[in-house]
Amino acid sequence: MSTHITEPVFPRSIRAMAEHEEAEPRFLGGHALCAGCGIPMVVRTVLNSIDGPVVVVNATGCLEVATTRYPETAWNVPWLHVAFENAAAVMSGIEAADRALRRRGGAYTVESPTFVVFGGDGGTYDIGLQSLSGALDRGHRFLYVCYDNQAYMNTGIQRSGATPMGSRTATTPVGQAHSGSPRGRKDLTAIVAAHQIPYAAQASAVDFADLSRKVRRAVQMGGSAFLNVLTPCPLGWGFTAREGIAVVREAVETGLWPLYEVIEGRYRLTYEPDPRQSVDRFLATQTRFRHLGPDEKAAIQDTVDRDWHRLMDRVEADRRFFDRDDILTDQSFRGRQVGGSPL
């Protein structure tokens, strides 16, 4: 058990993040991301929760395309994009370069920067999974943030390995023979956690204090860290721009998107919906699920229940680990945390 685990970590308050952004802007407005897109809120929360220098690598996707249209850029930190599937490998090289220069006495900064990768679900669950796995296996010190909006949105809403069951996309359209995605998402967070890295977590674009704390915990743990952040997409999901936060809230309250963290292999729920709501509440908020009939909705509820209970079994098994008095004094994580957005 690392000594890090006994040190408390607190989220950065919204006010503190705003002050941080004021003092040291890292991600600027004027980019071309859609109104109602959750990505910029996630990026700003991540970058404003980190102290000291940051270097960013971005996989191809909405964030990259909409923020770096040459010759303009929204980034005020060193930023590199190479391709779609290799962001974690690119960051591996940067992190190794920092170690090499540090050893030779040629480093550019007194303290090593925090290395942050941003990738969408397509670039992370699917085409970038190998390079992510390799980087985690080698144990590079970096934070990989997947902004998971549940499909290939940049190319026009095609199904990815993160697309929920039943969801209509451009490649799982609604027709006479088939309607929507026949399969649910793969459990990428568990796949990542199986690499035995210090920290992996699921967060959301609804509880930004939770996201902030997880970013800070991830960085504080050192080594490889991964955050899977459910991020709303008005175009791809079918809701009006101002509803994004509320839609993600339903994903959390129904248990479709559980908020939890995996610290040195131990699972812990960080928010417990009480009572957990029917998944209908989430499905009803978006046009991508409008075609679903009662049987299909029931099948989705079954998979949500199954996945929830399996997660709870893991959480229960690890509860004793977290009940020790000397670890994780972060905050009110014993018992139910107040959900919802502090915004």
Partner: protein, 405 residues
């Protein structure tokens, strides 16, 4: 070693022009690994593939023995290896890699981007046939995949040339007028695995020659944040590609200069185009790689029979050294261009390059040695003696039933 010390060593090398006196018997792979040890890069990112693997195995031993400062990244694929190389090179660290065949094929997507990002690094290539069918032996099909990537492509005839070119390539890649990946190819097994006498230079000479690594906007410098790899629309894409192309072209002139510097340090001249007994030749064999050695033997024996024949070797394939080529070719000479690669449905790649530059010469195209098939001295002699029968309207596939010879 401080920068000043390195400069002194560099100047000392220039003054004395003394290579290490003793040649060592090493393979091409070992020679390149030795060059890389002397260069002592900050980062090496690699993935194993035959016949390049002895390079990274030898280098891994240098790392294990503490003889280099390098961060050795054992990647999970060539695609990721080159991706890490690009990240590291742009971060501000001198970076190298090595690959072959399918590995280079897998890297190609990233290689194009690396050139566009102007990421400087050296890539050793143990040139090998491409699948399918799967084959591990010498062939130039793999480097031909990199032909239009923007990277500089150098090709060695011998182990010593692979060593020399690796050292020169370090400076060439990082030259402010170039800032591009440089591939240094040697023939798989024929050169990578066969031991030859190689005159290795002193460590300090090589360190002094390559000097310090520098990129203008290192990503690890947060004081000067830059956005690299931005999204480019039609208004900016073409101008950016034109700049990149200009850099590749400039690599030709910079190679001449750097090879001159290297000659002063090593006593060895390495031009982009090298000729052997072509002055009065009626027939000139044009080729790249280890086969040139075979051709030189054939030329000597043919000349003993009274045939006026010579060899023109290209050490540089990108940028294509067209001025040097034209300078070495006289009107009326018959050019026999030997390719170790195909371009199905068209003429093979080296032939196309040569034919496009030549006026007043007849050219014949010959494809040989695919997948490691040997080309003997006798076979070269047979081609030259039977040159009148070579078809002008198609490439001859040497040693293939239905081929011209």
């Amino acid at each position: 070693m401080s920068k000043q010390e390195q400069q002194e060593v560099q100047q000392e090398g220039c003054r004395t022009s003394r290579p290490s006196p003793d040649a060592r018997l090493v393979t091409g792979a070992e020679a390149v690994a030795e060059a890389m040890r002397q260069i002592d890069p900050d980062v090496m990112a690699v993935y194993p593939i035959t016949p390049q693997t002895p390079i990274i195995e030898a280098f891994s031993q240098y790392v294990a023995d503490g003889r280099v400062h390098t961060e050795l990244l054992l990647m999970e694929s060539e695609h990721s290896a080159l991706s890490a190389v690009v990240g590291s090179a742009l971060a501000g660290a001198r970076t190298v890699t090595a690959t072959a065949s399918q590995g280079l094929a897998y890297m190609i997507e990233v290689l194009y981007i690396a050139a566009a990002l102007r990421a400087p690094f050296v890539m050793a290539v143990g040139m090998r046939a491409l699948s399918g069918p799967i084959n591990i032996h010498a062939d130039h099909s793999d480097v031909m995949l990199a032909r239009d990537s923007g990277a500089v492509i150098l090709i060695a005839e011998t182990a010593e040339e692979a060593y020399d070119l690796t050292v020169i390539a370090t400076r060439l890649a990082e030259d402010p007028a170039v800032m591009l990946p440089v591939l240094v190819g040697q023939d798989g097994f024929i050169t990578t695995h066969a031991a030859e006498p190689v005159r290795l230079l002193d460590d300090a000479l090589v360190r002094g020659f390559v000097g310090e690594y520098h990129v203008p906007y290192p990503l690890l410098d947060p004081g000067r944040p830059t956005t690299q790899g931005a999204f480019s629309m039609p208004d900016s894409y073409f101008p950016q590609k034109a700049q990149e192309e200009a850099a590749t072209r400039q690599a030709g002139g910079r190679f001449l200069t750097l090879a001159g510097d290297y000659a002063r340090v090593s006593g060895r001249e390495l031009s982009a185009v090298e000729t052997y007994r072509t002055e009065d030749a009626e027939v000139v064999l044009v080729a790249m790689g280890s086969v040139v050695g075979t051709m030189k033997d054939a030329v000597d024996r043919l000349r003993a029979r009274g045939l006026r024949v010579g060899v023109l070797k290209l050490r540089m394939f990108r940028p294509f050294p067209e001025d040097a080529l034209r300078k070495e070719i006289s009107p009326g000479q018959l050019l026999l261009v030997f390719d170790r690669a195909l371009s199905p449905g068209s003429w093979p790649p080296l032939f196309l390059e040569v034919a496009a530059r030549i006026r007043g010469n007849s050219c014949r195209s010959l494809v040989f040695g695919l997948g490691g098939r040997d080309l003997s001295v006798e076979a070269v002699m047979t081609v030259v003696e039977g040159r009148e029968d070579l078809p002008a309207n198609a490439a001859s596939h040497l040693g293939i039933a239905g081929g011209a010879l």
